[in-house]
Amino acid sequence: MDNIIQQIHGVPLNHYLIFCSVIFSIGVLGVLIRRNVIIIMMSIELMLNSVNLLLAAFSAHSGDPSGQVFVFFIMALAAAEVAVGLAIIIMVYRNTKSVDIETLSRLRW
């Protein structure tokens, strides 16, 4: 276990911030440029995961275990969100035969 801790020694907290914001931006980019609803949900998962990693890093930095408990709750929330979201996608696909998000624009009226 000691050499695992040695591996992380010397990485500044700023680099975790930069890395996680890069991953978050990639998630936002995925939401913007894709039309497949499932891939958009996957991009949302990517964003959630980047925030999780940042919470874990800050919790290890400040020595407070509450951050890691929060990550656990976010994971439970993500599981619930994915279950309901995929059920909605299956229902939409059954009615429209498409996973294109543009077909959902008829919800405006």
Partner: protein, 168 residues
């Protein structure tokens, strides 16, 4: 120290592959690899509980759910809807603007550039369990109700509505 940068590079690479691959099944598989690199990050932070939960719940359950739905809907490269190049370009510019805003904010913020000192005790299952069942007992129980609600809702949503079809 170099291990962190190597794994971070792998995470960014596979995350980019996730959103740029045309085939949705490949996209899910790349996302699984991305989550695996995140598990390695948790291990590096010595957050063993989170690493195990990430491995089992995220990679094992959620990603299999995604893959299952993709296979069920029979999606592949040919049926994949793509945005036009103009919208893609604008999306790329917007994403880069967000990233630049983040980086500029971090520069101004001047967070203490202290090292990530991984407290060796904090992420272990024993200590995290103590916190979870002492300070966060009520949210923990409520999250079980949330999962039950999600399960009932998912079954109710995805079930075929037989009665409506008989009427129509």
């Amino acid at each position: 120290m170099t291990l962190f940068y190597f794994v971070a590079f792998l995470s960014i690479f596979f995350a980019l592959m996730t959103i740029f691959t045309k085939n949705p099944v490949h996209s899910v598989l790349y996302l699984v690899i991305t989550f695996f690199t995140f598990t390695v990050h948790y291990i590096l932070l010595n957050a063993q509980f989170l690493a195990v939960v990430n491995f089992i719940a995220y990679m094992g359950a959620i990603m299999v759910l995604f893959l299952f739905v993709l296979m069920l809907l029979n999606l592949n490269k040919e049926t994949e809807p793509m945005r036009s190049h103009v919208v893609k370009f604008m999306g790329a510019i917007a994403g880069m603007c967000l990233l630049i805003t983040f980086l500029g904010a971090f520069r101004v913020l001047e967070t203490d550039t202290g090292l990530v000192v991984a407290d060796p005790e904090i992420g272990l299952v024993k200590n995290l369990g103590k916190v979870l069942f002492k300070d966060f007992l009520l949210p923990f129980e409520i999250s079980s109700i949330l999962l039950l609600t999600a399960m009932v809702g998912a079954v109710l949503l995805a079930k075929k509505e037989t009665r409506v079809k008989q009427n129509g």
